[in-house]
């Protein structure tokens, strides 16, 4: 349900440009073509991201997605998810500063425990940088021609030859 009382700055919107998605079991793979990063969103993170349409506030998302949790806990859960999405640049026009301090381990632990008790996973996102094609090849042994140190097993290319 859209939250018309909130301004756009309070209603997160999922980024859609330059993103490729693929569902893998209950997770969502998102590949960001603009920075060559691949993200794996667990079911909770994927649900939050999919519902970020720019018209719903954090509270509205929370009550929609996690109705079994107390409102303050569900809002915190969504806020953590939003912050993790923001850090991965998966949201559009969302404030640059953090909305939740993810360095507070106690708070994150509490969120995870409360969520687990209600049968919900805390929103998690794992990210890798897609390799350049040069990285995904076997390295060259000593004495072989090279043009960059990364090509050599020794990690050292000197005078166009692997050391």
């Amino acid at each position: 349900m859209a939250d018309k009382s909130k301004s756009a700055a309070e209603c997160p919107k999922a980024k859609s440009n330059n993103l490729l998605t693929e569902e893998v079991a209950d997770e969502l793979l998102v590949f960001d073509v603009s920075n060559n990063r691949a993200h794996c969103l667990n079911a909770s993170a994927a649900a939050i991201w999919r519902h970020c349409d720019g018209t719903r506030s954090v509270e509205s998302l929370a009550s929609n997605l996690f109705p079994k949790l107390p409102p303050s806990d569900s809002a915190r859960l969504v806020a953590v998810g939003i912050e993790r999405l923001r850090r991965r640049r998966l949201l559009e026009d969302w404030p640059a500063q953090a909305t939740v301090d993810l360095s507070k381990r106690q708070m994150l632990k509490k969120v995870a425990i409360v969520a687990a008790a209600a049968g919900v996973a805390a929103p998690l996102i794992s990210t890798v940088l897609a390799p350049t094609s040069a990285y995904a090849f076997s390295c060259m042994p000593s004495g072989m021609p090279c043009s960059a140190s990364a090509q050599c097993c020794s990690g050292l290319c000197r005078d166009l030859q692997c050391v």
Binding site: A25, E27, A38, G143
Partner: protein, 280 residues
């Protein structure tokens, strides 16, 4: 730079591998056998039509001439790639470069830098960077009864099935950056011939004295682990993530640090024999 189009070419051949047509030419006669030895697994020699990529090997000086210096220059299309006083490193470089070209340009396959064996109809895939112990673990798995598929690339088709890419295994003696090539037969193993689905992905690296206590990864995290070593991840991300979804549908994905490869290979295959590769 030599003018390649005017050079007198004495020998040449064209072949295809996974849909990539590659030509090689050399300016000296009697190199046909040497060129044939460089071709990648699964190649087919084809009539000499326009290749997708052409390698030109220019050799100055003749074998056996006293005092002659044999300078080998290698070009990829018209781009100089290597110039060496010795021919062996140039030929080795060309061999690796050809496999790399196939991996980069194959139109209907995804290449992941990984070791692969097959056991009881399922592939065991070990993705990882160079020097992470892939080939060592592959050699121990085939020594213990698995079928050899590759120590360099997992080759996936659009359905996520794995094809063999059985180049000779390259094993590095301890502390050396140089490898020695072994045929699968050296380990008493067969080479794979048919496509198989993935049963198990091992995300691992060697550490002295480590005990194998893996944790199970979700299919999504398994996809990230394979994507991290995928040659075409940046060029064709859509096809890559779609293929990985198909490939990991039934697979178990384990992550952990391993100790000696021999012990892990024995454990894994004993367990796989009892309950199946995709139930480990």
């Amino acid at each position: 730079m030599e003018n390649l189009e005017r050079a007198p070419w004495a020998d040449s051949l064209t072949f295809t591998s996974f849909g990539v047509r590659i030509g090689i030419r050399v300016n000296q006669p009697r190199f046909g056998k040497s060129l044939a030895a460089l071709l990648p697994p699964g190649h087919k020699v084809t009539p000499s039509t326009a290749p997708h990529r052409l390698y030109s090997l220019v050799i100055n000086g003749l074998a056996g001439e006293r005092g002659s210096r044999r300078l080998g220059s290698l070009y990829e299309d018209s781009r100089p790639l290597a110039k060496e006083r010795e021919l062996v490193p140039v030929l080795k470089f060309l061999e690796a470069r050809i496999r790399r070209t196939v991996a980069e340009m194959a139109p209907r396959r995804i290449f992941v830098h990984a070791g692969v064996v097959e056991y009881r109809g399922r592939a065991i895939v070990i993705p990882g960077p160079s020097m992470s112990g892939k080939s060592t673990l592959v050699s121990e798995l085939i020594r213990h009864g698995a079928t050899y598929y590759s120590d360099e690339y997992a080759v996936l088709d659009d359905r996520g099935m794995i094809s063999p890419f059985a180049k000779p295994l390259s094993l590095r003696p301890h502390g050396s950056f140089n490898s020695i090539d072994y045929d699968a037969q050296h380990f008493g193993a067969l080479k794979g011939v048919k496509s198989v689905p993935i049963g198990l992905v091992l995300v691992t690296r060697y550490a002295v004295g480590a005990r194998w206590r893996p944790r199970r990864l979700t299919p999504g995290h398994g996809a990230l682990a394979l994507l991290s070593h995928c040659v075409a991840a940046r060029r064709e991300p859509q096809r890559v993530i779609k293929t990985l979804r198909h490939a990991l549908g039934e697979a178990v994905i384990l992550k952990g640090v391993r100790g000696e490869a021999s012990e892990l290979a024995r454990q894994l295959l004993e367990r796989a024999a009892e309950i199946g590769v995709d139930e480990i």
